[in-house]
Each structure stands twice: as C-alpha cells, then as structure tokens.
Amino acid sequence: MLWTLVLLPLLGAPLLYLGGRRLGRFGLTLAASLVVLATLVLAGLAITSGWQGSVAWSETLALTLKLSTAGSVFALTIPLVALLIVVYAGYHELAPRTGYRRRDRQGARLLGLLLAFVGAMQMLVLANDFLTLLIAWELVGACSWALISHKWGQKEVPKEAAQAFLVTRFGDLGLYIAAAAVFAGSGGFGYADLATLDGGLLSIAVAGILLAAAAKSAQVPFSSWLFAAMAGPVPVSALLHSATMVAAGIYLLARLQPTLSAVDWFAPLVISLGLATALIGGVVGMFQNHAKKLLAASTSAQYGLMWVAVGAGFPGVALLHFVAHAFLKAGLFLSAGLAERQIGSYQLHDMRLGRRLPGVALAAGVLSLALAGMIPFGAAWSKEQIAAAAGQQAVWLALLVALAGGLSALYATRFQLLAYGRPLPRERSRLPQGPRPSRAESGALWLLAIVTLLLSLVWWPEVQAWLAEAWPQRLPQGKLWELIVSLILVVLGIAVGFVMTRRQRRSSTWQERAASWFGLPTVIQTIARGTVIFGHSLARFDDRVVDAGLRGTARFARWLARRNAQQGEAFSEGVPGVVTRLSEWGGHWARQAQSGQTHHYYTGISLGLAVILAILVIGALL
C-alpha cells in the first residue's frame, strides 16, 4: 500500500504530460495540484495506519518501503510544499490560453516533471533498503536535470543542467559503493543490515553515504552545483531547495544517524563539513548580487547547520530546522521569481520593488526575518536548538553556529532590502514595469508565509510539550547565554545588512570571487574540462597508436606476401635446379673416374687403403 504514495505522482506525471496538452493553464494546474493533494492525503493515511510495501526482484534484490520518523516528516512536508509550488508554477510559467486550442507542451512537461520529482522524492524518504534508496536517489537527480534544462533552447542552460547532474552523480557513486559494502558484509541491502557491519566495511559504507549526502546537500566542496541549478525556472529552484533534492542529503543522515555515528570519525567530520559550509555559504550570500544565487548560498549554509545538528547527535533538531527552512525558502524563491518578472533579471541591485509590490514585499519580509533567525519565528527556535546541540560538544562550536546565524541574518536582510526594500532616493525606476502577479502566485507565497508564521508557535511551551509527546525526540538543553549571544549576533547581522544596502556599491574583485564560492565552480569546471581533453587525447591515441598495431600487422603481412612472390618463389624454383645441376656434375665426375687404365685404379685402391688405415689408427688411439 505504501507504494501508492510513490506511484501516484510517478504515474500521474506521464499521464499529465500526454493528456494535459489539450488542457489550458487552469486545467493543467488543477490536475497537477489534485495529484499532489492526493499524495498528501495518502501520506497522512499511511502514517496513521502504518502502511508498508515490498516488491522482490529476485532472491537477493528486494525493494522495501517503510515509514520512519524522519520519513514521516518528509513524506508530509514534500507534498505540502510542492502543492503550493505547483499552483505557483502553473500561473508563473504557463502562458494563458490565447488562441483556440493552443497546445502548451512545455507547460505540461514542466508540471509533469514536478510531479515525477515529488514521486521520486517520496520513494527516497520511504525507502528501507539501499537498493530502493539508490533508485530514488538517482531518479531525483535525473528529474532535476530535466527540470533545470527546461529552457533548453538557450545555449548555456543544458550545460548548467549537465554540471548539476554530474556533480551530484559523483556523489551517487558513494551510494553505489555503500550499498555494495553493505551487501559484501551482510548479504543483504537493508538499512538494518548496515548496523550489522563492523570494521573497514562499515567505514567504507559510512564514507560512501557521507559522500552522497554531501553532494546532494550541496556541502563544501560540492556547493557550487546549486549555482548551476539556478538555470532552471523559479518553481524548480523553489522545490529543489526546500523539500526535494538538497533535502535528500540531510534526510539520509538524519535517518541513519544512530548507525552512522558508530564510526568514530563520523561526528567530527560531519560537524566540520557542516560548519564550514554554513560559514562559507554565509560569506557567499553576503556578497552575492544575483537574487537566486544568494538564496542558493543560503540553502547550502542552512543545510550546513542541519549537518551540525546531526553530527552533534540530534537528528530530530535537524528535522525541525528542515521543516521550518522548507517553507520559508520555498516562499523566498517564489518572491524572487515575482521580482524577476518585474525587471527581467535577477540582479538584486536593479530591484528594490517595495513600493511597486507592497503585498509581496510584506510576505517576503516575514520569510526573510524567519531566515534571519529572528525571534519569534520557528526557524529561530530550531536554529537555537542547533546552537545548543553544538554547545553540548564544545562551547566554541556553539559560538561558531551563532556566528553562522549572524551571517544568515546579514544575507537575509540584504535580500529583503535589495529585492523588496524602498528605492534609493536618487533612483527612480527606469525599467519598464512587468505584469502584476496573479492571485495564484501571490496566494501561494502568502500561504507559505502564513505557515512560517504558524511555526512560530514552537516557542510556546505547551506546543513544545505536545511536540515532545507526539514525536519523542531527544532535544538539547540550551543555555541562556547562548541564546543571548545568538540574538546579539542576529541583530548585528541585520544592522550590517542595513548598512551594506544603504548605498549602491560596485563590488570589488575579491568580493565577486567570494560571491561565487571562492572559485569553487572554476575548479569543478577545470576538472570537467581536463577529463574531456583527456578523452580527446585518448581518442587520438586509440586511432593512431592502438589501431597502428593492427595496421602494422596488415602491412607486415602484405610485405611478407610480396617478398614471397618475388624472392621466395625464386628460391623454391632455384633449389630443385641446383640439385639437378649438382647431380649432373657428380655423374660427369664419376664417368671420368672410369678411365680403363690400370695405374688409375691402383692409385685409387692404395688411397682407399690409406684412408681405412688412418681411420683404424684414429679409432685405436681414441
């Protein structure tokens, strides 16, 4: 039964694509959102009635689905966020029906792929073994490739999509190895089998899982694929960053944390990777001037914080932060899309649309404050929990988490003020105005803002008590001074953000470099280009050297045949000829010996006797 949760959107996708071409914008959007809604309802049913699912491929290979705590949280969050994004996508990306029976193949494809994306992600979070996980893991990657290359007509877009796919697939290789290691150690592929491993195999499996999770979660050094993914349309980015794809990495870590932490280097490595990403991502967001890329950097950074929580041993905290982040980040991307519609680009310095779109600006303000970690938003609470979790390990870790929080306050402020702040006094909008956002678009955005507001309730002790009862998770005990330091840093970040956006400034070279992950994309592109060049030279080598052996053999055989024709033939003709001549000569000589004269014969006899004697003497002496 649990398979319905996966199959409904996965099968709905091709149906929507094939059948949806006749539908208009409204019909397509309605059909797609109904499928997502049904998935949401099914997820609720599955959680309340404890469904399971299993299909055996062979004796060794079986696909199993099972709900876990982390899986339930994700299974509900994914369709909920996706529902709003699909509605937005329908009205943001699809053109209204203008002519009679206008076929909108692109729109049907986009919505169909969004559905498939949801289905693959549901499969990922429900998987109970590494084979199923790997299938879903790669399907999610393929869906994101197809979604990012939505506008394939532009020259750069397919390249960026390929880059995003290849970087994440490099991580997938880790999952292949992890699955193989689990099989080598236990003979099965289940999550439960992972726990039975020990020693080297466990280390290999954990390393593989970490590689896969780091690549998907856009942690250092894989962060830059998220920038490449920005070539996709806004709803795709919104879904990619909030509830799918990037979320897969943290899901896997949170799901398997009890087993993974058995390896002693797991916690330090995960904490340091997460913290490094959170800090570096914060700096990238601080200097980035492309609206979507700023949000992308912030995604890496926020997931870095979740990594810290998992590393510190509190996967539940990471899940809470995931939920809060999913809604606010989806909303922020949608608002960025609306801003782009107005000015035709994602350049933050050209926006400042507060006067033009006051309603959107307000919603974006709520989301930005939540991203900044301002009390009383839910994201602030989960962030403080992460700081407290880090504080259990070491005080300086908690301080670094608070610093990362300060950086997120900074870039959130920058985003809000540049995108939806008031225009600078000297500048009047010189760009043409775009169409006003439709009700569906701003409605989706507002709903996300409202959910974010509702999540503020977690600060309320009674809600916390209810949460602890409904969902027993270990929560860290925070200290008051940590909270205060954290808040001071948030306020400081907001203040610096204000100062930074007061004036229009040209960014210096090093700021630009910092804004693009300190040259990380260049490194990855260099590796890619190097591989292609290597492939080309190998291809030349193959043509000129490897094949030369074959051509050489053929030439040698031809030469041999020619030699044979010229000289071998003469030789074989010659040998019988020489023999004939020799025997002729011998015959001639023998005839001469028969002279008929006695003294000739006596000479011959005495010579013969001498020879016999000599032989006998030699024989006796020897």
Binding site: P158, R169, A180, F183, T531, G535
Partner: protein, 495 residues
C-alpha cells in the same frame, strides 16, 4: 524441437527470399519481419516452458551425426543462453522492421539478415562445440556482406577489416576447441560432458594455453581493449540496422562464449586468472568511456560505449569465476548482473544504433557539431534518444541499472578496488551522453536542419517496442532475473 524451429525458420525464410526473385521491397520486408517474429515466438514459447527449478540445460535435443569423432547435432539452453537468444531474436525483428535504404536490392538484404539471424541464434542454442564454432564463424559471413554491400563511407575496407580481425580470433578459438576436444576420453564435442567433467582441471601449461586461446578469441569478439579497433570502423560504415545487430547480438557472442566455454568448462583455470581478466575489464570500462567522451562522431561515440558496457559484463564474469572467494551469493549476483547487462546492452545499444540510422537517412551526417536544437523539430526522436541515453548511462528504472548495480555489488564483495574504480565509468558515461543529447537536441537549430522530419510510424513503433523492453526490465525484472538466476546459481555452485 522448439529450439530447432527457432534457428531453422529464419534460414528457410532466407532461402525463400533467394528463391523468389520477383518479390517487391515491401513484400520482402514483410516476409522477413514475419519470419523473424516467428523465430522470436518460438523462443518465447521455450522461455515459458523453461523450468527454473529444473536441470541446467533444458529443451535438449540430440541427433547422431558423425559418431566416430563425437560430433552430433545437439541443442539446448540454460537460462543465460535463453535470455540472450530471446533478446537477439527481438533485436533482429526490430532491425528487420526498421526502414532502411536497401539500395535497390531488398531481397538480398533481407535474405542476408535472416541468414545472420539463423546463424546467431545457432551460436546461443547449440550444445556441441564444433557446431558452435561453425555458427560462430558463419555469422561473420553474414555481417561481412551486410556491411560491405549496404554500408556507406568505405564499406568494403571496413567489412574486410572486421572479417579478418574477428576471423583471426576464430582461429584461436578453433585451436582451443580442438584442445578441449582432445583433453577428454573418449573425445567429445558435447558441451554438457565437458562442463560436467572439467577435463582440464589442474593441468598446468596445457590448460593455460587452451584458456589463453579461448579468452583471446572471445576478447576480440567482445571486444576488450586493446583488441577493439575493428569495432568503431565497422560500426561507422555499417547501415543502422546492421550496426544494431553487430552491437546488440554479435558482441554478445564473445561474452556468452566466455561464460559457456572457459567459465563453465575450466573453472579452476579461470579462477586462477580471474583478477587479470577483471583488470582487463576495468581498463575496458574506463578506456572505452573516456575514448567515447572524446569522439565527435555520433556513431563512433556510441560504438565506444559498447566497449565500456561489455567491460561491465566481463567484470561480472571475472568476479563470478573467483571460486576461491567463498562468497557464493556475490559471485551469483555478479554472473546474473553480467547476463542482464548483455540483455540490457543489446536492447539499449540496438535502439541507439537504430536511431543513428534514422539520423543517417535524414542527413547523411554523423558529426555531432553539425546538429543542435532538434528537440523542437523532432520531439519523438528526442524522447526515444533521451530514454535510450539515460538507460545506457545506468539510470534506475531502466534496464542498464539492474545490470550494473548487480555487477558492482558482486564485484565489491570479491575485488573491492575494481568496483570502486569501475563505478567511475558510470560517471563518465553520464557526461558523454548528456553532452551527446545537448549537442543533438538542445540549443539553437542550425539553418540547414530546417526540413528535418520527426520519426515515421514504422520507426517509432520499433523504437517503442525496444523502449518498452528497456523500461519493463528496469522496473519489474523478476521474469528475467528468475530465469537467469536459475542457471547462474547452478553455474557458480562449484560443481
């Protein structure tokens, strides 16, 4: 009886085509397709009648022929042979049904196709070593004429190179077969006897030489690096359907032969060299993928991915042969994976080469840089190519993944490093196929492609069937895995 029907029907069909000189192109094609489909049907019946719990070889028939030298007409299949043979028959039906320019000689073209089908199925179905060799060689004749008469570019040169190179491999094979024949008392060509008695177990140099000759012969056919240079040239100059058969069916004879002869008949010897074979396979995987990445010619690029994929198969076979590893489940997984890879690669690369044929029919050009932006003009062609490309790069849900996952999982349990380095192959394959899709279908449409037409129904019908097969194996491979596992369990069982 059913197996004999499967290979003799196409032969009779070919004779009929040769005998009726008045048949039109459409009639000849219809006849050939029907005959090929009948042969496929016979194999499907054999599949349905195959008992997974039964003995290794089933549907066995034996007919005395030349008892003085131990030669007899023997046919029979295990799960591996049956899976590969059925896939081959399907590829033949697809290749025959795919529209192609027959240069005004349709009867001859389809007759050679049917002849080649009969010989190819014979290779997979016989249980007699000498007949195996005869069929193995006669496939060369069929392919030689298909490339030489209906190819483009420099078809005669390519056909000759293909023939001579692979024929050299066949000669080594003949020597090895005689070696195997002489090693058993009374002398016999019966594969079942050779598999059961393992005559060369533990006989040093003699066994080593026979093994080397067998492996060299099959490595040329597979092909493994560095014995592969006949392949790209033959592919580029062959007509699309012939390429599909060359990659989809003929290459499988190399790996099938490895499983049937050295793997099954000389287990101890193979085990001694399994690491060497595994390393050669790894080189083929990485080298094939990298060279494919460096190709600017559509057909050459796909041809080199064949080398990469056949490398996975050989890796699986090498791992399965490591009897000292004492991990029977892993070895069985690797052997099943290798066989699924054969089936999957046949379907996927068959589809890709048929697509190449469609490109050639439309433009007469394989240069990737001369294309672009076709997704809008030819959505069906784009869709099928994307599906086949993703299947080839090992995307889950499609056939290639089921094979590669099993091969890697099995390999890791025996030779961890080969698996760790081998998975890099699927990353490079992903890069080269995404690049291929980008250069063919995305970006701007060049002006000279303004009249590029989408697939006709005969084309997409055939591709649809192949794609369906790829999808079904990727999503629900139970029917295939049950069949193959039945035999791979017996084969690695260490009899």
């Amino acid at each position: 009886m059913i197996l004999t029907v499967a290979w003799i029907v196409p032969l009779l069909g070919a004779v009929a085509l040769a005998a009726f000189p008045r048949w039109s192109e459409g009639r000849a094609r219809l006849w050939a397709a029907a005959v090929a489909a009948l042969s496929l049907l016979a194999l499907v019946v054999a599949w349905v009648g195959f008992d997974p719990a039964g003995p290794l070889f089933q549907h066995v028939e034996e007919l005395r022929w030349v008892p003085s030298i131990g030669l007899a007409y023997r046919v029979g299949v295990d799960g591996i042979a049956l899976a590969v043979a059925t896939m081959s028959a399907l590829i033949f039906v697809a290749a025959i049904a795919y529209p192609v320019d027959t240069l005004g000689q349709p009867r001859q073209y389809y007759a050679w196709m049917l002849f080649l089908q009969a010989m190819s199925l014979g290779v997979f179905l016989v249980l007699d070593l000498l007949l195996f060799y005869v069929f193995f060689d006669l496939t060369l004749v069929g392919m030689f004429f298909l490339i030489g008469r209906w190819g483009h570019g420099t078809p005669q040169v390519s056909a000759l190179k293909f023939f001579l190179y692979t024929f050299a491999g066949s000669l080594l094979l003949l020597l090895a077969i005689i070696g195997l024949y002489l090693s058993i008392e009374p002398h016999s060509f019966d594969m079942r006897v050779l598999i059961e008695r393992q005559p060369l177990a533990g006989t040093g140099l003699y066994a080593g030489l026979v093994f080397l000759a067998l492996m060299l012969g099959f490595a040329i056919k597979t092909p493994l690096v560095p014995l592969h240079t006949w392949l790209p040239q033959a592919h580029v100059d062959a007509p699309g359907p012939a390429s599909a058969i060359l990659a989809g069916v003929l290459l499988k004879m190399g790996t099938y032969g490895m499983i049937r002869l050295p793997f099954a008949m000389m287990q101890e010897t193979f085990a001694k060299y399994s690491l060497v074979v595994g390393i050669v396979a790894l080189v083929a995987i990485l080298y094939g993928a990298l060279v494919a990445l460096g190709q600017g010619n559509l057909k050459r690029r796909i041809a080199y991915t064949s080398i990469n994929h056949m490398g996975y198969t050989v890796l699986g076979i090498a791992v399965a042969s490591a009897i000292f590893a004492d991990n029977q489940a892993a070895r069985q997984l690797a052997l099943t994976g290798a066989t699924v890879e054969m089936v999957a690669h046949g379907l996927i690369t068959g589809a890709l080469f048929l697509i190449c044929g469609s490109f050639w029919q439309r433009t007469g050009d394989y240069e990737l840089d001369h294309y672009g932006g076709l997704a809008h003009r030819a959505p069906l062609l784009t869709g099928f190519t994307v599906l086949a490309a993703f299947a080839s790069l090992g995307m889950p849900g499609l056939a290639g993944f089921v094979a590669e996952f099993q091969v890697f999982a099995g390999t890791f349990a025996v030779y961890p490093w080969l698996a760790v380095l081998g998975v890099l192959g699927i990353l490079i394959t992903a890069a080269l196929f995404l690049g291929l899709l980008r250069r063919l279908f995305f970006g701007r449409l060049p002006s000279h492609l303004g009249g590029f037409g989408d697939l006709k129904w005969a084309e997409w019908g055939v591709l649809g069937v192949l794609s369906l097969g790829i999808l079904v194996i990727g999503v629900a491979p139970q029917f295939l895995l049950t069949l193959i596992d039945a035999s791979s369990a017996l084969l690695v069982g260490g009899r």
